[in-house]
């Protein structure tokens, strides 16, 4: 992952940064996920716990997102169907 460069806005201290690789994160939940994904072998048991609960939270959010995306697809589909029925 060394090709990822980061820039923290100069007047602002980074919200959080990773203890293992130093990469700064704008929000703590992203850092928790990053630690679990990139450093799973070395992180402490409590960090593993919080990674797992963060993953569960993320899964919930993803489910909500999927419903929204499905809604968009349905709107797109029926929108196009209507357009074709009227204009083609």
């Amino acid at each position: 992952m060394d090709y990822i460069r980061t820039e923290v806005p100069p007047k602002q201290a980074p919200a959080t940064s990773c203890d293992y690789c130093g990469r700064p994160f704008a929000a703590p939940d992203r850092l928790t996920l990053h630690k679990g994904l990139a450093h799973y072998g070395v992180i402490s048991a409590s960090e593993k716990e919080s990674f797992k609960s963060e993953l569960a939270d993320e899964a919930d959010e993803l489910r909500t997102f999927r419903l929204k995306a499905l809604g968009m697809l349905v709107i797109l589909y029926f929108g196009l169907l209507l357009m074709y029925a009227i204009f083609a």
Binding site: R5, P24, A27, L73
Partner: protein
């Protein structure tokens, strides 16, 4: 590089966003806001003029002389909207795939095909010999042979072969240019490397070279008059060999030679890749998630130039493009300057400004993406990581624009290869079947779908949070939709001969 602050209180999301765009990206925004605004205005005006001109010429019945292929059974806006919606819908569908391991497995899937060492020597020698012989024949026949575009060995090999078939081989199968490249073969026997290649200028010479080659193709009659083509090839050879001798073979062909860079990048789309001395089969486009393909802004500019040159040369050969050029040439009331000079200026300005607009759109998408998800990942990283996916789009455009040309000229090309010195009296030019237009539309859409898939995998590599990864793609998807709609619009227009050029 980042410093370690572990226990700062969590910062409000909106605060992060606003401070991010006020500080680091502010300079970039200021630098790009004005050109961007001008660019957007330019695009709007061009489109307005183009539509206006198209309706006028259609009303006059002029398009019939250009060989109309306007056979759309649905309104044009619905056709364009459907194309854009297809890309958008596929991005939405891709966002349903949230299993990290699955995504990584798909893009890392490969099967070793052959170890290279057994046959590499022979194939390289034969390929290099073929490349050099064809280059010499092309120049010789260009000057001494018949001056007929559809029968000249020089023109058929350069355009049906080098312009149409070789890039298709590069993105559909694998890059063979690294072996065929005749200039590289010649440079290998010359004394080289008198200067070190200035690493500061990166691949900008290749970007400039590619734009220059396309500009020459548009302005000069290289595709119709063999002597002009041969002169252009001699000029290119002199520049290339001089560059390779001064800076060394590998530095020159990796950074400054537009053709070598072009084939190398098209080759990244291909299913056949070379890794550590073996030839591997991969899924098409899966190599585009490799962050090492592009390393600098100049590389991104090259990728955008690939998309733009195909869009531009497509546009000026349509009735709307020809009409736009005629209108712009007519606007300037300068009687003293000859029309051909005015037309050259118009073509050049359109070409350069359009490229800048396409580049600015992508550049701005990365800024937008960074602000939108409030990440600390630099815009430079975002730009560099997402840009390889655009190569699949370029490949789709290339196929849409050149597959037809290659197939219709392929019998003539075969005949020319069999007897370079005695062209046939009646060269066969195939007429394409009606469904071929559908194949062009399909290839543009397939290119975009590969690009969407690659962008999805790239975002998962960069971001730890999957929601952030999904949201970071939106601006890039919007730019891709924009490119698709423009490209689909161009191939739906009736074709015409670009005005004022020989």
């Amino acid at each position: 590089m980042p410093s370690s602050h572990n226990t700062d209180p969590p910062v409000d999301e909106s605060e992060i966003k606003s401070s991010a765009d006020h500080s680091t990206t502010k300079l970039e925004q200021m630098r790009f806001r004005r050109p961007l605004r001008l660019g957007i205005q330019f695009v709007i005006w061009t489109v307005v003029i183009a539509f206006f001109v198209d309706t006028v010429s259609a009303a006059n019945g002029l398009t019939l002389s250009g060989g109309s292929r306007d056979e759309l059974a649905i309104p044009q806006w619905l056709y364009l909207g459907t194309g854009g919606a297809t890309v958008g819908a596929s991005a939405l569908l891709a966002s349903f795939v949230t299993d990290r391991i699955f995504i990584r497995k798909i893009h890392e899937w490969n099967r070793p095909l052959l170890p290279v060492d057994r046959w590499e020597g022979v194939v390289t020698k034969v390929g290099r010999a073929v490349g050099v012989v064809i280059l010499i024949l092309t120049i010789y026949v260009g000057y001494m042979g018949p001056q007929l575009p559809n029968a000249s060995f020089a023109i058929l090999v350069t355009f049906a072969g080098g312009r149409a078939a070789l890039p298709m081989v590069a993105y559909l199968i694998g890059n063979v240019w690294s072996i065929l490249n005749p200039w590289r073969t010649i440079a290998l026997v010359l004394p080289t490397g008198f200067q070190t290649y200035p690493s500061k200028i990166k691949r900008w010479p290749a970007v400039f070279g590619l734009l220059t080659l396309v500009w020459i193709e548009v302005i000069f009659p290289v595709s119709t008059v063999p002597t002009v083509l041969a002169t252009a090839i001699v000029g290119y050879s002199v520049v290339t060999l001089a560059g390779a001798v001064v800076f060394g073979v590998d530095p020159w062909f990796e950074n400054a030679d537009p053709l070598a860079v072009l084939f190398g990048l098209y080759g990244a789309v291909a299913p056949i890749q070379r890794h550590n001395g073996t030839i591997q089969v991969k899924l098409p486009g899966s190599e585009l998630t490799n962050a090492e393909i592009l390393s600098d802004t100049s590389d991104i500019a090259f990728v955008i130039a690939l998309i733009w040159e195909l869009t531009f040369s497509g546009f000026i050969t349509t009735s709307a493009g020809a009409g736009t050029v005629s209108t712009l040439v007519g606007i300037v009331p300068v009687e003293l300057i000859p029309t051909t000079v005015q037309a050259t200026v118009v073509y050049t300005v359109l070409f350069v400004v359009g490229f800048l607009v396409f580049f600015a759109a992508y550049w701005y998408a990365a800024n937008l993406s960074r602000q939108w998800v409030g990440t600390y990942v630099s815009t430079e990283t975002l730009r560099r990581s997402f840009a390889p996916s655009l190569l699949a789009i370029a490949a789709g455009y290339h196929f849409a624009h050149y597959a037809g040309l290659f197939i219709s000229l392929s019998p003539a090309l075969v005949m020319a290869l069999q007897s370079p010195f005695t062209p046939p009296a009646n060269p066969i030019v195939l007429t394409l079947p009606g469904w071929f237009g559908g194949l062009s539309i399909a290839s543009i859409l397939v290119g975009h779908l590969l690009a969407i898939g690659a962008a999805h995998a790239v975002s998962y590599k960069i971001f730890a949070s999957r929601l952030v990864a999904i949201r970071s793609q939106y601006p890039f998807v919007l730019v891709m939709i924009g490119y698709t709609v423009i490209s689909l619009w161009i191939i739906s227009l009736p074709s015409a001969i670009p005005p004022f050029l020989q």
